[in-house]
């Protein structure tokens, strides 16, 4: 039995047995990323769910070298790993990845991430975005979407949850003029793997954001992780794109567009928006974010004067 298990997972670089929750998007993201990169990488993770569930001493699911330093410095730590590899003449054979959550990326770690971008280190920074501080028990981050109820942005008689829109971190990454910025979703694994491989073809800093549903924090069944990931993309709330320096933005088109209520209505964090007496204006404001994404990024092919636009 044991041998059979080992045989089954012998080539997998992030093996089962770790402590992620059932239906965790992040664990799947890590496995897919390492499938794309292969074994010659060093991974840095900031503090967060991934760090906690993958590193209880003396166990490890990691088949690659892995370094966790602190919450707010993964960009800097990865910079240091990269320069050390360069000094050792290993930079062509061993590449550096960061895999961290939105709290460590959008909020507390954004300074060291910006430094890593600006200095031009050859690092792929992957943010698995589950839209709140899940490791500490579902508190609001600057990646938490408008209207989501969390433990620190609770809905109540005088509040409808998170009352500010998300920070646009991919746009901040693009503003650093780094070679490659992209968004992906755990719900589209082939697209995710392709983007990781594409990113690794570039030298210099790369940023990849991966939408990653969290059953605990979002309030959905563990079996629905992939469905919800798809709905976020199909409603236009989480646009998938690639921004390669010097090239026009490439987006993944939405073929059958859905309304945001189809996505929001399946998650407990938005349930207050559907209660009796709920303010219809709130749903309209969230729909407006999706509409804006669709128009701004050209997510839906429109029929103009009898012909389809041919973008991407």
């Amino acid at each position: 039995m044991e041998t059979a298990m080992l045989g089954q997972y012998g080539e997998v670089l992030f093996v089962p047995g770790h402590r992620a929750c059932p239906g965790c998007g992040a664990a799947l993201v890590v496995r897919l990323i390492l499938e794309a990169t292969g074994p010659n990488v060093i991974v840095v993770s900031p503090t967060g769910c991934l760090e906690t569930f993958s590193s209880p001493y003396p166990y490890t699911p990691w088949g690659v070298p892995w370094l966790h330093v602190l919450f707010e410095n993964a960009g800097a730590v990865a910079s240091g790993v990269e320069v050390a590899l360069k000094r050792q003449g290993l930079a062509d054979r061993v590449r550096v990845l960061v895999i961290g959550g939105d709290g460590g990326t959008y909020d507390i770690g954004i300074g060291s991430l910006s430094g890593m971008f600006e200095r031009g280190h050859d690092v792929l920074y992957v943010c698995y975005n589950n839209e709140a501080y899940m490791n500490t028990g579902v508190q609001r981050s600057s990646a938490t979407p408008l209207g989501a109820s969390t433990m620190t942005s609770p809905a109540g008689a005088h509040a409808w949850g998170q009352d500010r829109p998300q920070k646009d971190l991919p746009a901040i990454a693009i503003a650093h003029r780094i070679p490659y910025v992209a968004t992906a979703s755990v719900a589209y694994p082939a697209d995710l793997v392709r983007k990781v491989k594409h990113a690794m073809a570039f030298r210099g800093p790369k940023y990849l954001e991966v939408h990653s549903p969290c059953p605990i924090g979002w309030g959905h069944d563990a079996a629905e992780t992939i469905d919800l990931g798809k709905l976020a993309v199909q409603t236009g709330l989480f646009p998938l794109f690639e921004a390669i320096a010097g090239q026009p933005l490439r987006v993944r088109k939405i073929h059958k567009r859905l309304l945001v209520i189809d996505y929001l209505g399946r998650q407990r964090r938005f349930s207050h928006l559907f209660e009796d007496g709920a303010n219809q204006d709130h749903l309209a404001r969230i729909q407006a974010i999706a509409d804006d994404n669709v128009i701004r990024l050209g997510l839906v092919d429109t029929v103009v004067a009898g012909r389809q636009s041919n973008e991407a």
């Binding site: 990691w62 088949g63 800097a76 240091g80 300074g111």
Partner: protein
């Protein structure tokens, strides 16, 4: 005799020369006064091709230390320098470096901590990371700063230690002073300090994990091992000082230095640049027939309690010159000295007089020392201080009156 050249240079340049001779692979830093000249000199050396190192200009001191954490974990020699707020910003990383056993060497150019914002050379900054598991060595003059940096890498990288090691030098007083310094030839330094041989490092050839999550079943053992590593440094620091002397013919190092303590009634005890002043003062007072001696605490962590006990036991009183106070208790150094002397044999335990000479950068002069020695004699004559007292020397009553009676004085 070792080949060396005596040159007159600024303290910061001497430190940069020492660091260059140690051939760090990665340097990362962020500017803060009074550390800037060191990192500027190193930047020049890299720019001129005199030093072959990666020089990473970080976005903060926090990132500088984090960059070195990553580089050190990947198996190369690393260096940074900071002070004051910068050191406090690094402190979270220093705790990591100690726990992960990464031998980063750093220079702390001691400076006061805001507020009040200022540039005075006190020790509140380095005391703020006292408990991290960092080895702390305090130096007295520029030559010692140069020599100690050469030793620091050897101490830090010893496989029985593998800890971040901090060379503490009083800002301006030592960083910006110009003194003659004996600079060793590169080949001599290379013989003394071989290339870094990491025990554990990140490589895909042998995947390993740094920075695990632990719980109540295993955290205590990690702490125990860190404590053992810091304590191991006591023997290694002494051994490296002996090696240094054999190689270069001059003694520089060890845990403490004793000066005229054998028959001393009053022993002065200090760290850093104050020691130079006290050495002069001891000579003057001895000529006047006053039995006074001096203990220089060079290594603060690990704390040389046993060594201080042996050197001070014959004396009647130890007067501690503290450049840092743990507000609400006492001078930080004095507290540790008292703890060390508590274990002295019955009847041989000296009194301890806690003073803040040099705190806030207030100058320590011969008159300051006389005042303290006079006070010490009063204690010996049977007038001990109230328990836990710390003397703020040279307070200006007119300034205290200006902030109002409510705040200025002690309240009963």
């Amino acid at each position: 005799m070792a080949r060396s050249t005596v040159s007159v240079m600024e303290g910061s340049l001497a430190v940069a020369q020492a660091v260059k001779a140690c051939r760090p692979a990665v340097i990362s830093a962020y500017p803060i006064t009074p550390q800037t000249h060191i990192i500027e000199d190193l930047a020049q050396m890299v720019a001129q091709g005199e030093l072959d190192a990666e020089y990473i200009r970080a976005d903060s001191e926090f990132s500088a230390a984090s960059i070195l954490a990553g580089a050190s974990a990947t198996g190369v020699r690393t260096y940074t320098a900071s002070a004051s707020q910068g050191l406090l910003l690094m402190t979270e990383v220093l705790y990591f470096l100690a726990g992960a056993r990464l031998p980063v060497v750093l220079t702390a150019t001691n400076r006061q901590v805001s507020v009040p914002l200022g540039l005075q050379p006190d020790h509140r900054d380095t005391m703020g990371c006292r408990d991290a598991g960092v080895i702390q060595l305090y130096v007295e003059d520029v030559q010692e700063a140069y020599d100690t940096h050469l030793q620091a890498f050897k101490i830090a990288e010893n496989h029985h230690i593998l800890l971040p090691t901090m060379v503490c030098m009083d800002g301006f007083v030592l960083t910006h002073v110009v003194e003659p310094v004996s600079i060793l030839d590169q080949t001599e330094v290379d013989d003394f300090l071989p290339p870094y041989a990491p025990l554990h490092f990140l490589t895909p050839e042998r995947p390993a994990v740094f920075g695990s999550y632990t719980d109540d079943a295993n955290t205590l053992e990690f702490y125990y091992l860190t404590q053992q590593a810091v304590l191991n440094a006591k023997g290694v620091i002494e051994a490296v000082a002996r090696e240094f002397q054999e190689a270069f013919g001059r003694h520089q190092g060890g845990l403490i230095d004793s000066y005229s303590t054998e028959d001393a009634e009053v022993v002065l005890l200090a760290m850093g640049s104050t020691v130079g002043t006290l050495r002069e003062a001891v000579d003057v007072l001895r000529q006047e027939g006053i039995k006074v001696g001096l203990i220089k605490v060079r290594c603060f962590r690990p704390f040389p309690g046993e060594e201080i006990r042996q050197a001070a036991c014959g004396a009647g009183i130890v007067a501690v010159f503290d450049r840092a106070v743990s507000f609400g208790y006492q001078g930080v150094l004095a507290t540790d000295v008292k703890a060390a002397l508590y274990d002295a044999p019955q009847g041989k335990r000296p009194w301890v007089l806690g003073t803040t000479a040099g705190f806030g950068g207030r100058e320590v002069t011969l008159d300051t020392v006389r005042e303290i020695v006079n006070h010490a004699h009063k204690v010996l004559d049977g007038h001990p201080d109230p328990a836990d007292e710390v003397h703020f020397l040279g307070l200006k009553p007119e300034l205290l009156r200006a902030v109002g009676k409510a705040q200025a004085g002690p309240r009963g």
